[in-house]
Symmetry: C2
Subunit: 317 residues, 2 copies
Amino acid sequence: MTTCETAAYLKGIDRVLILTHARPDGDTVGSAAALCQALRDLGKQAYMLPNPEITATYAPYAAPYWAPDGWKPEHVVAVDVADKKLLPGNAAPYAAAIDLAIDHHGSHRFFAPNVCLDAEAAAAGEVVYDIIRDLTTLTPAIALPLYVAIATDTGCFVYANTTDRTHRIAAELLSVLDGAKVASVNKALFRTKSRARLAMESRMVADMEVYDDGRIVVMKIPLSLRTEMHAAEADIEELSSLAALVEGSDCGITLRQLKEDTVKISVRSGSRIDASAVCARLGGGGHKGAAGATVEGSMDEAKVAVLRAVAEVTEER
Amino acid sequence: MTTCETAAYLKGIDRVLILTHARPDGDTVGSAAALCQALRDLGKQAYMLPNPEITATYAPYAAPYWAPDGWKPEHVVAVDVADKKLLPGNAAPYAAAIDLAIDHHGSHRFFAPNVCLDAEAAAAGEVVYDIIRDLTTLTPAIALPLYVAIATDTGCFVYANTTDRTHRIAAELLSVLDGAKVASVNKALFRTKSRARLAMESRMVADMEVYDDGRIVVMKIPLSLRTEMHAAEADIEELSSLAALVEGSDCGITLRQLKEDTVKISVRSGSRIDASAVCARLGGGGHKGAAGATVEGSMDEAKVAVLRAVAEVTEER
């Protein structure tokens, strides 16, 4: 479906429940909140399914739209969800009833009868922006979460997915927003680090491992580090971008121990290595430049597994 | 002068030498390079005065435009220079002959007979963009240094000076640029840190001092740290933004020891404290949110001086 057709479809339905993905980021939350507000502006009932994994960073954008207990939707829309298995646990009762999926992942699994997919979009927020422009007037209540969506998925317009379209949309959003408000959002999202986070980063830098003449950097977040630094979930968000910062490297790997025998692997790569191909070998997926997988085993076992996957993917070329 | 009038003025002159400021950043270098290229596209002779303090980060944008030894200009233009005393030493022979100043600093000192000043612009690059649009066609050779100028002064669209106009100009620039090229510029400028720099940041975090219930953070770069980490000038660029990152603080102060008895003070502040007022008390200046001063004395003396200045400025309110 085009964004035009999606807007027409949305105009024809009511009592809409919007689903976000597990480990929610600014794109899924901001896109869902903006869409929810736009539907309400059209006089419809619309809510977001409360996401149990929401962090303090994004809760302010989502909480006003949480569906009350027992509210029954007629239609279900998933936003920024590439695969049904990426939904949070409490979405299970709705997973088979999703009418529409709005997404920007090239790896989208087409689990809904109606799909509005634009894999060229830097963020689901860009797709939702186009839909909303066909639905209703752009207001600050819509523009702010959309800004959060787009800014989050582009690292504030710095990642390679940022295009002229991204900046053009940002200009439209900022034109209806208070500059001081946007500045405070940017400050909170991109220019603030807790002392716990700064201390964790410090340690990750001190303990980093370097392979392949410096082209591959591995950073580790063992359970013990998080405990020691009294770090909350929000302190750990986006920590996986740190490994990709190191000069001379084009493959930053972060190993985060979720449980004693479970490790979340994040891979951020340049054009030489396809991160999604690496993570696909480990049962995960994502984008070419940023992907992830969760594996069983110790931190050392995860490290060997991901380095082997990188070697295999680079040999194939 | 408006940007229109400035374009008309530039059309009427030839043999133009463009001056950048001391400790050149992406804005002064990128704006000057773009203007130089635009004048050449009009068939004029134009050069930039070689800036002896250029770092490896920005040299690629400037070096192709350096004036050859002995080249004699007929006209001199200063870009992003708020005050003649901010010119590098080798600009002295031209300082009295500046015909036109193009700038965006509210603190501009009107040292030239013709001044094109827009203190609302996030970067001199925005002003130069408007001028160039009245001069010639936007080409990649012009758009790339302008992108560097604007991205640098806005921290890649994250600082409070970023407006809808900033994004609109960025969209125009990206529309003529190769996306992969912009991505590699962003990666180099904003997503790469040398190991020396990461190690310095680690130490600055470990040694930071916190005042006023955490609202003021002081970080230090003693001469010894730089020596120990074998840090080049490019490793130190923008290190002063680190202190402003700490959660709960709205005033980040960085003390950098330039010589045994000389300290460069950088202040980054939120709306509560006017950084330019603080630095004015120490003989410096800048913007409300980011300012600097250079003082004589030890690191401890500099720290006391700047904390006293902050106290005085906040008491006045």
